[in-house]
Symmetry: C2
Subunit: 590 residues, 2 copies
């Protein structure tokens, strides 16, 4: 382990915090990545992030334009990605307790990655991670936050390499992989660090307490409040957004003092392996034990997540994936605080609009982006059977569906443009659902295979749009469950009121990450708002421009409400961070 | 339901919050307890409480001196208490779904209360509580907080009546019942309201978001963030401190918008029945549905808590009691967020002291207060076999134990004084443990029965102090588990280091609400601090005056760390309130 400094801080509160920690642990000094250096580089960013989280105004720390990463950034990133292929992921060779190097990732663009990653012996790795904990706890919240920001800065520098890793594990188009896999994920990580820092410094590090006792003089105590971690945190990664969905939990746990074991989805290991390597390298340079962050790749069919989730050392779990396994975790990993993002059924209620073309374009884009493989993509479009009113005159249900299908067809007409929007199909399950979709309803828009200009082996499909009538007995079986991937249902309903009732039932029973609504009626808007407040789901109203229902922005939008079956947590609110650590109080006579 | 106003608020943020809620629900107007009245009465108290929670300095809203409650306050309180005896608790006659009136409380002072309380049909009561929810949600966090403060003010007015109810259900001495059952409990409730209010207003009610898009102009959205409740909260009360341990969960849940169902311990119903009645009365006067708070008394042997805890409508549970049932709740009530205070084994490490007499007096008081029936009372005193250093010269293990026994004997020599400190034994389990204690070790101080001057049927016992040597194989079986009640173990250990090692193991395996330490050695102090940070337990060092390890003060001290087996939550930190509600975001084009 390298030597370094982790004592300098620059506010009175944090100095006291350090001192409290120092009384129990030890202050480090030496060369390497010093606390002064870290504060110079990142203190302003941390303060700005804390302020942004409070104001919810637009703010971002990491540029989303690919240009910001250099003219040959994409090429250099690709070269770095290629150099990793065909061997062990050597940057993690120093992880203790590695007893195998499983791999097996297949790019949705049609080739095998052929990279092996460390498989852990938990009896060796988990004790090493626990042993790493005391020094990290003693560093205090400010130093922990600054080290996390340095990790994020190094991830940002490697955005283009990570983008290729994201693209070839998730199937995201390169442009999306750059943004969602890079700066947007980094922003979500920074947001978690900011929230964790704010939460750990909400109590003063030290306080005087003086209780009057009349003539007897006051009772006087000196008190310290020290944030301490819960234990090892387990991050269970997902296939579609390994960094974007992974960073909030990873950085929230690490910033609150917990070691983090990262168990990636077996089809999307590389983006998180690069992340773990950057974290370990930074921690070591700052004088901390790199085993505070480790990777746990799994053998085929091993069920490693289940095994790790029940270990008594694991006290926090972050999970993104299927509802079945998320619910299993919530029921069985009772020794841990479990944060889940599971699946849901997202609904858009279409009642009326003052911008028909804008609505169609917005919906067409939302349904097409990343082939509908986002947890936030709309699935059910509820449209009154008698049609809707628009700025372009009344439109029948049939017209709305036909016009939406036409908008999607137009948006995806050109193969190159379609590929850049759709990306590739992430796995065989999605492909099966696309193939089986025509049996579920009347096809308004059929899926077609798109040829990728660069990767002939890529599996690219346009979305299917199906027509259903809510009055038909068999319709509910199709739309009242999640059909993950590029399959959307245009469901004819009796009225706006019927749509709202269906929306409420869908959220309550299936969960929802997002709800969309189009209406010019104050009464329907009121009903939509009331439904979303009562069932606890986020609502986007009348989006007709360049903001889409399936996109949320760090520092401003909450992702998931935590109050319906789709997720029990939100990125990133106080509840997401406040229980990842506890305060210990030490009191002495003054 | 009465009419009233719940719209007025007095900061910009909250006005916006109201407005957001009003868009979905409805603003009420009319007579009764208006929001303006509530704000006039309580806004300053709320703001002061929020400030106190942040500063952790001494602060209290409710006077703890009995004099503050009138010269004849005690007598009037007793008369009010007596008038409730021998019949149904009529103030709750209007609760829906009541299908029986079970009772059966026996005062530890030797008489039956003979009061019957409503037993619910959950199929009727729970839907009525859910139906009450929407209006309370729409009121917004400020009005909810002010209504909670009005409830607390009315409870404060009835402090003396509640004190008699607490005394004759818990066995607390009257003086303690006044303070701990009245103002101290009310302070803990207010603290929870302040934390809940602060948490719900951490996000702005409204925010503008403008993302630059270069030449294309900015993307602009208007966003609202509305706190919404989780669902019905279940409070499972305890026998010893029904109000002090009950108010934090009750008020945290209610202030965050959740209806609260109170299931008291069958031996301590009256204090919570009075509380529920005050809450219902206040809610109705303020124009809200009184079914937001209800009482659920149980039939003998019914196991009502288990039944209610698994109801899908119940989304929050607060529990104080045995570890066995607390762990059952944590394992089985997975549909709910479960906050538990269970049992633990509290340790005091005695290494050395600069005030030997002060230490002995402090410990004697701590062990005697309420017959050791506090979750925070020390159980194990770890003393080096070779003795300790003190300002009065070196003291052998034998001398320390003998001197402590003498201090306790002296403190409790006078029956009247002893009774006022000890209170009565809360139940048969405690009495059995006192009777069985001499078999567990060498008796340094025997328990004696104390005659109560006023209540000849009162069961009052002084504490037992037992000597054990940690080296003896059978000793661990005695001290390494909870022995709730007036039984303490003076355990001879090898050294301070051995004591710290035992302390760590005890916290890790048995949990601890409190840890005490006496030392003049910086090295031993460092070890104690490190042990408590590593195992997550609150530490009180060198208390020799009028502050005791088993007492915590609202707004400053945390009660429970939430990070060891004794409790999974603390009164009251952000983690205790942040997940009782969720934010729903509503966004629209600006």
């Amino acid at each position: 382990m390298n030597t370094a400094v982790n004592t300098a801080v620059n506010t009175a509160d944090e100095t006291a915090q350090e001192s409290a920690a120092g009384a129990a642990g030890k202050a480090r000094t030496g060369a390497g990545l010093t606390a002064e250096t870290l504060a110079e580089r990142h203190r302003q960013t941390l303060d700005d992030a804390v302020a942004a989280v409070r104001s919810r105004a637009y703010w971002s720390a990491y540029p989303e334009s690919p240009k910001a990463y250099g003219e040959d950034g994409a090429a250099r990133g690709r070269a770095a990605f290629e150099s990793l292929r065909g061997g062990r992921f050597r940057a993690l060779a120093d992880q203790p307790g590695t007893d195998g190097w499983p791999g097996g990732e297949e790019s949705p663009y049609g080739f095998a990655l052929e990279i092996g990653y460390p498989h852990p012996d938990p009896e060796v790795l988990l004790p090493a991670m626990r042993a790493a904990s005391a020094g990290w706890r003693a560093a205090g919240p400010a130093v922990r936050a600054l080290v996390c920001l340095e990790i994020l800065a190094r991830l940002n520098e490697r955005t283009m390499e990570i983008a290729h890793a994201v693209m070839h594990t998730t199937g995201q188009a390169f442009g999306m992989a750059v943004q969602a896999g890079g700066p947007h994920a980094q922003d979500r990580g920074l947001e978690a660090v900011a929230c964790a820092f704010a939460e750990q410094t909400r109590l003063p590090a030290r306080a005087g307490w003086s209780k009057p006792q009349g003539r007897r003089g006051a009772l006087e105590l000196h008190k310290e409040f020290v944030p301490v971690p819960r234990g090892i945190a387990l991050l269970i990664g997902c296939n579609t957004f390994p960094t974007w969905n992974g960073y909030p939990g990873l950085f929230a746990s690490l910033a609150t003092g917990n070691p983090v074991l990262v168990k990636p989805h077996p089809r999307a290991v590389l983006p998180l392996a690069l992340t773990v390597a950057a974290a370990r390298e930074t921690l070591a340079e700052a004088g901390f034990d790199p085993n505070l962050v480790a990777l746990a790749a799994e053998l085929p069919g091993e069920g490693l997540a289940k095994e790790l989730a029940l270990r008594p050392e694991v006290r926090i779990i972050d999970y993104t994936g299927s509802s079945a396994f998320g619910e299993w975790l919530e029921r069985h990993a009772v020794q841990a605080r479990v944060y889940t993002e599971k699946s849901g059924v997202n609904t858009v209620v279409i009642d009326s609009t003052g911008d028909y073309q804008g609505m169609l374009a917005n919906l067409a884009f939302s349904l097409s982006l990343y082939s509908g493989q986002m947890c936030t993509t709309p699935q059910n479009l509820l449209i009154p059977r008698g049609g809707i009113t628009t700025d372009a005159g009344p439109k029948s249900y049939e017209e709305v569906v036909a016009d939406l299908a036409a908008a999607m067809r137009k948006l995806l007409a050109d193969d190159a443009r379609a590929g850049a929007l759709l990306g590739a199909v992430v796995g065989p399950g999605v492909l099966e659902r696309v193939a089986g979709a025509p049996a579920l309803g009347e096809v308004a828009l059929a899926s077609r295979a798109v040829a990728h200009p660069e990767f002939p082996g890529a599996t690219v499909r346009t979305p299917v749009l199906l027509k259903l009538d809510a009055a038909a007995p068999e319709a509910e079986e199709a739309y009242h469950r999640e059909c993950f991937g590029p399959v959307a249902f245009a469901v004819a309903v009796d009225s706006a009121e019927h749509a709202v009732a269906l929306l409420r039932r869908t959220i309550a029973e299936q969960g929802a990450m997002t709800v969309g609504g189009y209406t010019t009626s104050p009464e329907v808007e009121r009903q939509l708002v009331e439904a979303c407040l009562a069932e606890c789901a986020h609502l986007s109203l009348n989006l007709t421009g360049g903001v889409y229902v399936n996109q949320t922005a760090a520092f401003s939008d909450l992702h998931g409400s935590g109050g319906n079956p789709a997720a029990n947590a939100a990125y990133t609110d106080a509840a997401f961070v406040a229980d990842r650590f506890r305060f210990v109080e030490i009191r002495r006579p003054a």
